[in-house]
Assembly symmetry: D3
Homo-oligomer: 62 residues x 6
């Protein structure tokens, strides 16, 4: 609490996720107070063929 879910296209590196988790935790604690240990972050990889915007899958967008 807070618990943060991040849906993003697959293909990010472990380093990017590591850095993003660290940075989001920091700004969350700075803004809301509380301890860093109370912040949970879960990354959810989404394939481009599973995400549509405007009715078109990203795997088919140019």
């Amino acid at each position: 609490m807070p618990t943060i879910h991040i849906e993003l296209f697959e293909g990010r590196t472990p380093e990017q996720k590591r850095d993003l988790a660290k940075a989001i935790t920091e700004v969350t604690v700075q803004t809301l107070g509380g301890s860093a240990e109370s912040v949970d972050i879960i990354f959810v990889d989404v394939k481009r063929q599973d995400w549509a915007t405007g009715g078109v899958l990203w795997s088919e967008r140019k």
Copy 2:
């Protein structure tokens, strides 16, 4: 906005997801107004061994 998540059993073809994303976006715009580009749809494949109804996993239902 709107953002739509669709959890379904794995095994659907890319064509089914493409057609469903297109059709849901259309009826959403017809009903709510707004632009198609503002509609995001995310498909979430679920294995039959990860979904239970009535306390029984679908991988074990007859």
Copy 3:
């Protein structure tokens, strides 16, 4: 199964949700097969002050 979550700005009428649930269920059954009774749809109202795009809450966008 499928289970569909629709996040949308609050303020839609019950009639819009009713019509959208009916239409999405129909296109889902047409595209994926299965019975209408197996389609669950949950609407999640989101306040404009709880949704940000580009780092700006929609309650503060012009």
Copy 4:
């Protein structure tokens, strides 16, 4: 309804999920009433490299 999502680290056996789905369905029906068939449970496996607590991914915690 109710619909229950369980996010957990990947690596649980099918038997553990089967037993947990059965047990959670039972206590849900005992507490809330209703039929077991109305209880849906979806397991969501999360990799340790996709879950951070305190800003540190579990794949990097000691």
Copy 5:
């Protein structure tokens, strides 16, 4: 971790939620191991007018 979300019709009493949180935590620890403190449960109340099955909102089902 695990993190459990329970969507249910609004109207349950605080006592029912308290009892259900306790019972689900117990069976989760018994089945998966780990400590009770690592189990988070979040209840999400859903109005009958926001949940449709078979294309019909529960507020309009007989």
Copy 6:
């Protein structure tokens, strides 16, 4: 894409959410690249009586 959901105890001020949305969007763009406009953030307020840790609702924890 990315789409970020933040579940937190109710009671945060609009200013806190505004600042957090801005800060998280910034660190996300810095870490992952892409445009700020592609980052959606949805805050989900949770009542203390709807969140349990260790089987105990936060409304009943001392």
